[in-house]
């Protein structure tokens, strides 16, 4: 069977539905609605129309030769998900799930968010479709992504700052699941990544795989061949699954996921789930996760709120376990250096999340040499990160020197 044909609930030993019984009926309903929607031309037509007239798809690819000079001279091509409406790939998934929400007759949506990109995208779709919207966000993240909190509120969503646990993305997911268990009659949970219980990993991937399908053809048109490698950052892993999927059965195309190494994988402060974690159950699925010997989740760390997650989607764990994709860690420092480099060489300010893929691609370019072509998913733009970047590079005080 082709690797692309996997539909869950299991990907090898990973995936499943490890959730309270109260949620099973809702997951069954969602699975069934999704199976029907996939076959429904009306649904596809409506989603395609939104992609074209609202999101701005297909997104461009941009070759970045001045940036590539710093990566061994390999040819580097960016898939520009940063140009989508709302500023990242998250909108692809959210529009699909919001349409599905309408189909199953629910009027309220909830979502978790880390960096705020998925929250902003969900709030946007809720505004567009007239749905009530509550976004759960860890208190730590509401502080480091204050602008996105303001955006969500402006769009009409309620933002709940989650104060339990590590007060980051994993706790936002816990609270969103508690809300869902309580309000499942009226509420659909628009999950933001390829993790969680079935059908989320498969459904979110199906809604994001348009990234790779477009990019595969675009690179063929531009270069006459497939890329030698595809690079993407991995937190939960939705942008990476989105760009990997179309290439899964192209055996000559190497796939690289770059995880957040924070202050270094040799320190306790990182979010390199596949590199350093082991298999276990978190948030409804069996997958790799960062945990202690008792199975208690270990708090992750990354300068990037969107990658600051101790779990990862089960399909990534499977691709890692069968050796189809490679996962490597990238530190905060390397990501920030790549963020600045792309800004200065190409005039494109990436999200800190995406900067992990850029930093990884620079190393990959040196390994593969000047004959190689690397396709990089630029999953989001950096506007939301200006405060973090400003502090990191000391750019904000009046009179601050060029760093």
């Amino acid at each position: 069977m082709a690797l692309r044909d996997e539909t869950g609930p299991y990907f090898g030993d990973f995936g499943g539905r490890f959730v309270p019984e109260s949620l099973i009926a809702a997951l069954d309903e969602l699975s069934e609605a999704w199976e029907l929607a996939k076959l429904d031309r009306g649904y596809a037509a409506e989603l395609n129309e939104l992609h074209k007239t609202y999101t701005g798809r297909p997104s461009l690819i941009t070759e970045v030769p001045r940036f590539a000079l710093h990566g061994g001279g390999a040819r580097m091509i960016l898939k520009r998900e940063d140009l989508n409406h709302t500023g990242s790939h998250k909108i692809n998934n959210v529009l699909g799930q919001a349409l599905l929400t309408k189909r199953i007759g629910k009027t309220r949506v909830i979502a978790e968010t880390g960096a705020g990109q998925h929250g902003v995208a969900t709030a946007t779709a809720a505004a567009l479709f007239g749905l009530d919207c509550v976004i759960y966000m860890g208190e730590v993240d509401t502080e480091r992504q204050a602008l996105n909190v303001a955006r969500m509120r402006l769009l009409g969503a309620e933002v709940v700052a989650v104060k339990t646990g590590s007060r980051t993305l994993k706790d936002a997911i816990n609270d969103a699941m508690r809300d869902w268990v309580t309000n499942v009659d009226t509420t659909n949970y628009i999950f933001g990544t390829v993790a969680g219980p079935h059908p989320f990993p498969a459904m979110v991937r199906d809604l994001q795989k348009i990234i790779g399908e477009e990019a595969r053809q675009q690179v063929l048109n531009l270069t006459g061949k497939l890329p030698d490698a595809v690079a993407a950052c991995v937190g939960g892993g939705s942008n990476a699954m989105g760009i990997f999927h179309a290439f899964l059965d192209d055996a000559d195309v190497a796939l690289y996921g770059f995880e957040a190494a924070g202050e270094g994988v040799e320190t306790p402060r990182h979010a390199a789930t596949i590199t350093k974690g082991r298999a276990g159950v978190l948030h409804g699925a069996r997958s790799f996760l960062l945990q202690d010997e008792d199975g208690q989740t270990i708090e992750s760390h990354s300068i990037s709120a969107g990658l600051d997650y101790p779990g990862v989607g089960p399909e990534h764990s499977w691709l890692a376990s069968i050796g189809r994709a490679n996962y490597r860690p990238v530190t905060d420092a390397a990501a920030m250096a790549a963020l600045r480099l792309l800004s200065r060489t190409e005039g494109i300010i990436p999200a800190i999340e995406s900067a992990h893929a850029l930093a990884g691609a620079l190393e990959l370019g040196k390994e593969l040499g000047p004959d190689a072509t690397i396709l990089i998913n630029l999953s989001g733009r950096g506007d939301k990160d200006m405060e973090t970047a400003g502090r990191y590079f000391d750019l904000i005080d009046a009179g601050a020197e060029q760093s």
Binding site: R17, P20, E21, I24, N174, V281, L282, D294, G295, Q296
Partner: protein
């Protein structure tokens, strides 16, 4: 028959039902958590549900979250859970079921966990985030060791899923009274009564109702149709506010709902 099932049957035969009390290990500290469990058993609680603190407890409301987070911050380890079962069962003659999210069991090793629970004198496991569909390892381990396995049934469960919960469970079926998480509520849903009746139709011998129960009156109401009433947050709150003495008093008050005191 398991010790849990025989307690439930004995209470029913006496024209009443069982009071099941939840407390987490390690809150407010290890010794007091054991003393508290012993105290509620001495004050009318028939079966103890001993919670293992977990970093991501999605079925729990704010009261239990806060308590278990404190237990983890104090350094709770899984081995403390077995030690607590050993100490409690040495001091009082009540069955002790462990309530645990699934990942700690997986990481400890399902077979090893079952063996150590048996050795400690535990009666079985309540698994809030494990459905029978994903539970083949646990079904096998509990079959081998004779431990009880308590799965959940929810108002939203289909008839087929209720049958599965009944067939897979041993001890009782944890009947989720309302769509939601743990925490006291002023009204326990009518949904609980409907669900217990659906479970009976599915062949359920012992159905115990949990979530939102905090008064003797609610216990009495539930025991009119169910085999047991499970109280958690109200006990944890009492322990947090007034220590072992207060939780014993609240247990004794709740036990009035079992009508044995009348």
């Amino acid at each position: 028959m398991s010790s849990v099932a025989s307690v439930l049957r004995a209470r029913r035969d006496a024209g009443s039902g069982a009071l099941i009390g939840y407390l987490p290990v390690g809150f407010p500290n290890f010794d007091e958590s054991v003393d508290a469990a012993v105290a509620i058993a001495e004050n009318g609680v028939d079966i103890i549900e001993l919670g293992l603190p977990y970093s991501d407890p999605v079925m729990d409301g704010p009261v239990i979250q806060k308590a278990t987070q404190q237990a983890l911050a104090n350094g709770f380890k899984l081995r403390h859970g077995f030690e607590a079962v050993r100490q409690i069962t040495a001091r009082v003659d009540v069955p002790v079921l462990m309530m645990t999210y699934w990942n700690p069991v997986v990481q400890y090793g399902v077979e090893r966990f079952a063996d150590d629970l048996v050795a400690a004198g535990g009666a079985g496991l309540i698994t809030p985030d494990l459905i029978p569909d994903e539970g083949s390892d646990w079904l096998a381990a509990s079959e081998r060791t004779g431990l009880d396995r308590v799965f959940l049934a929810a108002p939203s469960s289909s008839d087929a899923r209720l049958r599965q919960a009944v067939e897979s469970s041993r001890g009782f079926v944890y009947t989720v009274s309302t769509m939601g998480i743990t925490g006291a509520r002023s009204d326990v849903d009518q949904a609980a009564k409907v669900l217990v009746s659906r479970l009976r139709d599915a062949g359920c011998e012992h159905a115990c109702v949990g979530l939102g129960i905090s008064t003797a009156e609610q216990v009495r109401e539930i025991l009119a149709y169910a085999d047991g009433a499970i109280v958690g947050s109200a006990l944890v709150k009492a322990l947090a506010e007034g220590g072992v003495e207060r939780v014993a008093a609240v247990a004794s008050e709740l036990a009035r709902g079992t009508s044995r005191a009348n």
